[in-house]
C-alpha cells in the first residue's frame, strides 16, 4: 500500500481517482440502464405473448358460447310420420316442409331446393322431433313449435364469420340461402341464445351439435381415480420418508427415484400405461380409469414433494411437546403434525390435480382420443377427456370446430383457474405462520 501511495505522491498530479470514476460513471450508469431496459423488455415480451394467447382464444372462442337457433311450427304430417312405423318416419321431410312454408316463393316440390332448405336446420333437428313424437305419439297430425339449432354454415353466417361481401363462388352459403336466412330473421324466427349444448351434448361430427359433456365426465372420472390413488399413496410415502425413514441407501434411492419421476416426459408414462395396464393387465382402452391410473403415477411425485415441504414447515416444538407428553411417534405424526400440515398438503394436491387435468399426451396413447358420442357412465367406459377433446376438435377440418376448440380451451382454463384459486384460498386461509 505504501508503495502505491508513494508512487502517487511522486508522480506529477494529473487526475484523481474520483475524477476518473466520475468520468466513467455516466457510461457505467448507461450500461446499467441498458441492462434494466433489456430486462424490462423481456418481461414485456412474456406478457405480450400471454396477452396474444388469451386474446386469440377469447376472440375466436366467445362465438361458440352462443348458438343460432331457428323457431318453427312443425306440422307432424301423418303421411310422412305414420304412427304405426314409429320410431321410423320422414321426420326430416316434415321439418323441411314446415320450414318451406315459412319461406314464401320456394318450390318445395323441387328435390334440390327441398334439400337446400332442409340444410338450414342442424342434422340433430330430426332426432329431436323424433324423440318428441316417440314420447308422445298423439302429436301426430298436430302442429308443434320447436326451437332447433341451425346448421354450422348458417350459424357462422349469423355470427358474421362468413362475410356476405365474399363472392358467391367462394362462400359456403349461396345467395338464395342467404336470402332464406334473412327472411327467417325478418320473421323473428332466428334467435341466438346461450349455447347450453356446449355443456349438455357429447361429441358429434356436426359442429353445431358437438358439446363437452363426454369430455367433462371423462375428465371427472379420470381425476377422481387419480385423486383416490395418488393422494393416499403420496401422503403415505411422504410421511414415511420425512418422519420415519432411517437415513439409509434405500431411502436415498427412493428420493432420487421420486425426483427423477417428476421429470420423466409425460409421453413415457403413456407408453408405460399402454404396455402394462392395457397390454398386460388387459384393462380396457380409452377408459378414464386407465387414464386416471396413469395420471396418478405422474401426480404422485408432485404430492409427495408438496407434502414433505408441508411436514417440514411444522416446527419441531410441536413434535417435542407431544413426545414429551408420552405420545408414540406415530401418534405425534397422525394426531398433531399431519393436521397442521394439511392445508399445505391440500394446496399441493390441488395444484398436482390441475396439472393432471391439462395433461394430454399419455391419454392420447391409451386411446382417450376416440370419437364417442355419449358420456361415460362408469370409469371403465370409453370416453374422452377435456384436453384430448381439444386435440380432436383442433384436428377437425370443419370451420365451426375452430371456435369450439377455443371455447373448450376457455372452459379448461376456467377449471384450472378455479382449482388454483381454491388452492391459493386454502393456503391463505389456513396456513399458519410459526
Amino acid at each position: 500500500m505504501t508503495d502505491i501511495s508513494n508512487a502517487h505522491g511522486a508522480a506529477p498530479r494529473r487526475t484523481t481517482s474520483s475524477e476518473l470514476v466520475a468520468a466513467s460513471l455516466k457510461r457505467r450508469r448507461r450500461k446499467q440502464a441498458y441492462l434494466q431496459g433489456v430486462g424490462l423488455g423481456a418481461i414485456l415480451i412474456a406478457f405480450l405473448m400471454l396477452f396474444i394467447l388469451v386474446a386469440s382464444l377469447v376472440s375466436t372462442g366467445w362465438q361458440a358460447f352462443t348458438q343460432t337457433h331457428v323457431t318453427l311450427d312443425v306440422y307432424v304430417d301423418p303421411e310422412e310420420i305414420p304412427a304405426e312405423r314409429l320410431p321410423r318416419g320422414g321426420f326430416d321431410d316434415a321439418l323441411a316442409a314446415s320450414l318451406g312454408r315459412m319461406l314464401p316463393g320456394t318450390d318445395m316440390s323441387d328435390r334440390g331446393t327441398a334439400r337446400a332448405v332442409e340444410g338450414i336446420l342442424s342434422n340433430g333437428a330430426q332426432f329431436e322431433l323424433r324423440d318428441r313424437v316417440v314420447a308422445d305419439p298423439s302429436l301426430i297430425g298436430q302442429t308443434i313449435t320447436m326451437t332447433v339449432p341451425v346448421s354450422d354454415p348458417f350459424d357462422q353466417l349469423n355470427k358474421g364469420l362468413i362475410e356476405r361481401e365474399t363472392p358467391e363462388v367462394n362462400r359456403r352459403v349461396k345467395d338464395n340461402e342467404v336470402a332464406w336466412f334473412d327472411t327467417l330473421a325478418a320473421n323473428g324466427a332466428i334467435s341466438k341464445p346461450f349455447n347450453w349444448g356446449l355443456f349438455t351434448n357429447a361429441d358429434s361430427r356436426f359442429p353445431e351439435l358437438a358439446g363437452l359433456k363426454g369430455a367433462l365426465v371423462g375428465s371427472f372420472w379420470a381425476l377422481l381415480t387419480c385423486f383416490l390413488i395418488s393422494f393416499p399413496l403420496g401422503i403415505g410415502a411422504a410421511i414415511y420418508l420425512e418422519e420415519f425413514a432411517p437415513k439409509s441407501r434405500l431411502s436415498d434411492f427412493i428420493e432420487v427415484n421420486i425426483n427423477n419421476l417428476a421429470a420423466v416426459p409425460s409421453v413415457v408414462f403413456g407408453l408405460l400405461a399402454l404396455s402394462v395396464f392395457i397390454g398386460w393387465f388387459g384393462l380396457p382402452r380409452s377408459a378414464p380409469f386407465v387414464g386416471g391410473l396413469t395420471l396418478a403415477l405422474m401426480t404422485m411425485p408432485t404430492i409427495i414433494i408438496a407434502t414433505r415441504a408441508a411436514l417440514k414447515a411444522v416446527p419441531p416444538s410441536i413434535r417435542e411437546a407431544a413426545l414429551g407428553l408420552g405420545a408414540s411417534r406415530q401418534q405425534v405424526v397422525f394426531h398433531h403434525v399431519l393436521p397442521l400440515a394439511m392445508p399445505g398438503i391440500l394446496t399441493g394436491t390441488i395444484i398436482g390435480l390441475a396439472q393432471a387435468l391439462g395433461e394430454t399426451a399419455p391419454l392420447l396413447l391409451i386411446g382417450m382420443n376416440a370419437f364417442i358420442t355419449s358420456a361415460a357412465s362408469s370409469p371403465f367406459d370409453s370416453s374422452t377427456a377435456l384436453p384430448t377433446q381439444i386435440f380432436i376438435w383442433a384436428d377437425s377440418p370443419e370451420r365451426g370446430f375452430v371456435s369450439r376448440t377455443s371455447a373448450a380451451i376457455l372452459v379448461l382454463l376456467g377449471f384450472l383457474v378455479m382449482m388454483n384459486a381454491v388452492a391459493i384460498y386454502l393456503r391463505q386461509k389456513f396456513e399458519r405462520k410459526w
Binding site: Q36, A42, L50, S275, G279, P301, A361, F391, S406
Partner: protein, 458 residues
C-alpha cells in the same frame, strides 16, 4: 356386481372394529388394566381385515379378465384359430364378448355362441367365487383378530406396525413405477431389435415407418434410422431455447435486482400462469396464430415457408419454457449470499456491474442446471409438436422447414393401433426408450449441478 365384494369388505371392517373395541371395553370394564386403548383394539381388527382382503380383491379383479379371456380362447374348437395372426384372434375375442353382451350382428357361428356362453358362465362363477372368498377371508381374519383381544395385547404396536408397513409400501410405489417403465420399455425395445437391427436404428439416415398393410401392397419397406428424428428434435429444441433463454434470463435478472417490490409481486404470478397453461393449449395457439403469422411473414419477404415449420413449434415451446427458466434463474440469483452483493456494492460497482460481474457468474452453475432441465423438458414435450410440427422425418437443420420429433413419432405411430407385433408400433417403444434415457441423463446431470451449487453457499 363389482361393488358387492367392496360392500362386504366395508361391512366386515366396520364389524371388526366394533367387535374388537366392544370386547376390549368389556375387559376394561371387568376391572383389568388394558395395555392399549380400546380404539386401538378396534383399529387393529379393521386393518387386519382390510389390508389382506383388499389386496386379494384388487389382484383378483386385475387378473380375472385376462385369465378368463385366455380360458375362453383355449376352449375353442380345434382349428378355429388356425392361420390367424394376433389381430385376428383379438377380433374373434371381441366378437365373443359382444355376443355375450347380447349385441349380435348377423348370425355368428355356433362355436362362437357356445364360447360366449362359456365366457358369461366363467365370469359369473368368478364373481361369485370372489364374493365367497371375501366372506370367508374376512370372517377368518375377524376370528383371528377377535382371539387376540386380551388385557396385555399390545394393540397399538400392532396397528403401528401395519401402518408402517403400508407407508413403506407407498414409498416403494415410486420405485415400482421406475422399474415398470424400464422393464416395459426394454421388453418392447428388445422385440423391436429382433425385427430391426440395432445398428440400423442408431445410425440409419432414413425414417420411414410406413409398412405395407397387405402383402401385395407396393410400399416402402419401412426404414427405421432414428437420426433424422433426433435431428428434428434438436432443431426444435434449439429454436425453443433461443426464444426462452434470453427472455427468461433477462426477466429473472430484472426481477431479482431491479424490479420494485410491487412490480415483482405482479410479474411472478403472471409468469406462473404462463407455466400453468396446458401444452395442448400452446399447440392450438401454434396452429391458430403463430404458424399462419410466420407463413404470411415469410411470403411477404419472398420466402417459401412450410405450413408446419420448426420455427412455429419451437417458438411456442420457447414461450412455454420462459417461466421455467426465469424461475430457476431467479432462484439461483437469490441463492448467492448477501455478503457477495454487499462486497461488490461496497467496492463501488453499480448494481448493473454487480449483477454482470459478481451475481451472474456466481449463479451460473444453477442457471445452467435450470437450462439443462429446460432442454430435457423441450425434448420430452409432446402436444405442441404433435399439433404444430410435421410428420415426415428430414435430414435438415433449416428451421423454416417442417421437421418431426421423437415424441411426434411415438404418438402418431401408436394412435389407433393396438397390436404389438409389427415394427411400426414397437419402434415407438424404441424411441420412447431413447427419450427416457436421454432425458434421464440430462436430468440427473442437471439436478446434480443445481444441488452441488446450492450446498456450496449454504
Amino acid at each position: 356386481m363389482t361393488a358387492l365384494p367392496f360392500l362386504l369388505l366395508i361391512l366386515a371392517v366396520a364389524a371388526g372394529y366394533a367387535i374388537n373395541r366392544g370386547a376390549a371395553r368389556a375387559i376394561r370394564d371387568g376391572g383389568s388394566r388394558l395395555h392399549s386403548m380400546t380404539s386401538y383394539h378396534g383399529v387393529f381388527a379393521a386393518l387386519l381385515i382390510l389390508v389382506p382382503v383388499l389386496t386379494f380383491t384388487l389382484l383378483w379383479l386385475a387378473l380375472q379378465g385376462p385369465v378368463i379371456d385366455r380360458i375362453t380362447m383355449s376352449g375353442l374348437p380345434d382349428g378355429a384359430l388356425d392361420g390367424l395372426d394376433s389381430g385376428g384372434v383379438q377380433l374373434i375375442l371381441a366378437e365373443i364378448k359382444s355376443v355375450s353382451r347380447g349385441q349380435i350382428f348377423g348370425t355368428p357361428e355356433d362355436w362362437k355362441i357356445a364360447a360366449s356362453e362359456r365366457y358369461v358362465l366363467l365370469h359369473t362363477r368368478a364373481d361369485w367365487f370372489l364374493v365367497a372368498a371375501v366372506c370367508v377371508l374376512s370372517l377368518a381374519l375377524l376370528a383371528v383378530a377377535r382371539s387376540r383381544v386380551a388385557a396385555d395385547f399390545r394393540a397399538r404396536q400392532g396397528v403401528e406396525g401395519i401402518v408402517t408397513g403400508l407407508m413403506i409400501f407407498c414409498s416403494t410405489v415410486a420405485i415400482f413405477t421406475t422399474i415398470g417403465i424400464i422393464l416395459s420399455l426394454s421388453y418392447e425395445t428388445y422385440r423391436f431389435f429382433e425385427l430391426v437391427p440395432v445398428t440400423e436404428f442408431l445410425f440409419g439416415l432414413n425414417w420411414e415407418p410406413q409398412i405395407p398393410l397387405r402383402d401385395d401392397q407396393i410400399a416402402a419397406e419401412g426404414a427405421f434410422g432414428w437420426l433424422p428424428v433426433i435431428l428434428g428434435t434438436i432443431v426444435i429444441t434449439v429454436v425453443a431455447l433461443v426464444v426462452a433463454v434470453p427472455v427468461g434470463l433477462f426477466s429473472a435478472i430484472y426481477l431479482n435486482e431491479f424490479a420494485p417490490k410491487r412490480l415483482r409481486s405482479v410479474v411472478k404470478p403472471v409468469l406462473e400462469i404462463l407455466a400453468g397453461v396446458p401444452t395442448v393449449v400452446y399447440g392450438f395457439f401454434a396452429i391458430l396464430v403463430v404458424a399462419p403469422a410466420i407463413r404470411s411473414f415469410g411470403q411477404s419477404i419472398g420466402l417459401d415457408v412450410s405450413p408446419n415449420t420448426a420455427l412455429a413449434a419451437g417458438g411456442v415451446m420457447g414461450i412455454m419454457l420462459i417461466p421455467f427458466i426465469s424461475s430457476f434463474a431467479d432462484d439461483a440469483l437469490s441463492a448467492v449470499p448477501q455478503a457477495m452483493r454487499d462486497g461488490a456494492l461496497g467496492l463501488g460497482s453499480t448494481r448493473g456491474e454487480m449483477m454482470t460481474t459478481v451475481l451472474f457468474p456466481a449463479a451460473l452453475p444453477g442457471i445452467v442446471g435450470g437450462v439443462l432441465l429446460a432442454v430435457s423438458r423441450a425434448i420430452g414435450e409432446t402436444m405442441i409438436v404433435v399439433m404444430a410440427a410435421g410428420l415426415i422425418a428430414k435430414m435438415t437443420i433449416n428451421p423454416l422447414d417442417s421437421v418431426t420429433t421423437v415424441t411426434v413419432q411415438i404418438v402418431t405411430m401408436l394412435i389407433g393401433d393396438t397390436s404389438f407385433d409389427n415394427p411400426k408400433t414397437l419402434a415407438a417403444f424404441a424411441l420412447g426408450m431413447m427419450l427416457f434415457l436421454v432425458t434421464l441423463v440430462i436430468n440427473i446431470f442437471a439436478l446434480r449441478i443445481v444441488r452441488k451449487y446450492r450446498e456450496a453457499y449454504d
